[in-house]
Subunit: 138 residues, 2 copies
């Protein structure tokens, strides 16, 4: 028997953010973060496309965790976290845009080894970070 080693996973394809108020949640990611919706799954959730081809899923955890779905169920509660990459040098423009929209800036961090992060909350209380520059070094 020849046992083949699988090729490395390429990257994360879908990241999920949960929130029970889907309309407000979707408006935040579409309007404030300017992500593009590619699918609406009834009252279960929506799928948003990132520029690199990745997908951000917004799910109502009560619906996503229910039985009878076509896929394995899931659904977390409590504040989650997602960090997005913004183009290099766009930190100040993003900071200004968020402030003009009335999005509270919870924190800003200039990392010791380079890179900066803006932290806000989405309407469900998830911690959303915008990252300018590499912040995880080997």
């Amino acid at each position: 028997v020849i046992v083949e080693t699988p090729p490395s996973i390429t990257g994360v394809h879908e990241t999920v953010v949960y929130g029970s108020e889907l309309a407000a949640l979707t408006a935040f990611y579409e309007d404030a973060l300017r992500l593009r919706r590619v699918s609406t799954m009834g009252d279960l959730g929506v799928a948003l496309r990132l520029a690199d081809g990745g997908v951000l899923l917004l799910f109502d955890p009560a619906k996503a965790s229910g039985p009878g779905r076509d896929v394995p169920s899931h659904g977390a509660t409590g504040p989650g976290h997602v960090a997005f990459t913004i183009p290099a040098g766009s930190y100040d423009v993003w900071l200004g845009t968020l402030r003009r929209r009335g999005v509270e800036i919870e924190d800003e961090i200039a990392w010791e080894r380079g890179g900066r992060s803006i932290y806000v909350r989405d309407p469900a209380g998830n911690s959303v970070e915008l990252v300018d520059g590499p912040i995880w070094r080997e």
Copy 2:
């Protein structure tokens, strides 16, 4: 006042998976999914690097949600979900590898519009999907 439109978010930089049994959780992602650890943050969590530069964070929600962290706190409970992209055509190799490791295959889906998914659970009960081919169409 010139209001500059921010350039589009590039992609997801950090995706989080939560689990209180960090050692078992880390072993699953390192050994079964062969992701590479780049940082260990005490008993808070670990950071794993994806081939495309993205980062998967494994966090103990009890620690990540606590006060006194250097960054805004978060921490969800209940089963979350993450989907990974695997190289085109590696579906069968990944399926065989997971089975040989004793990882239960919860579901397999051949999507109507193309692409296939393998669904397993990590030790914390999160739904983990391996995706071969494009499954979200515009």
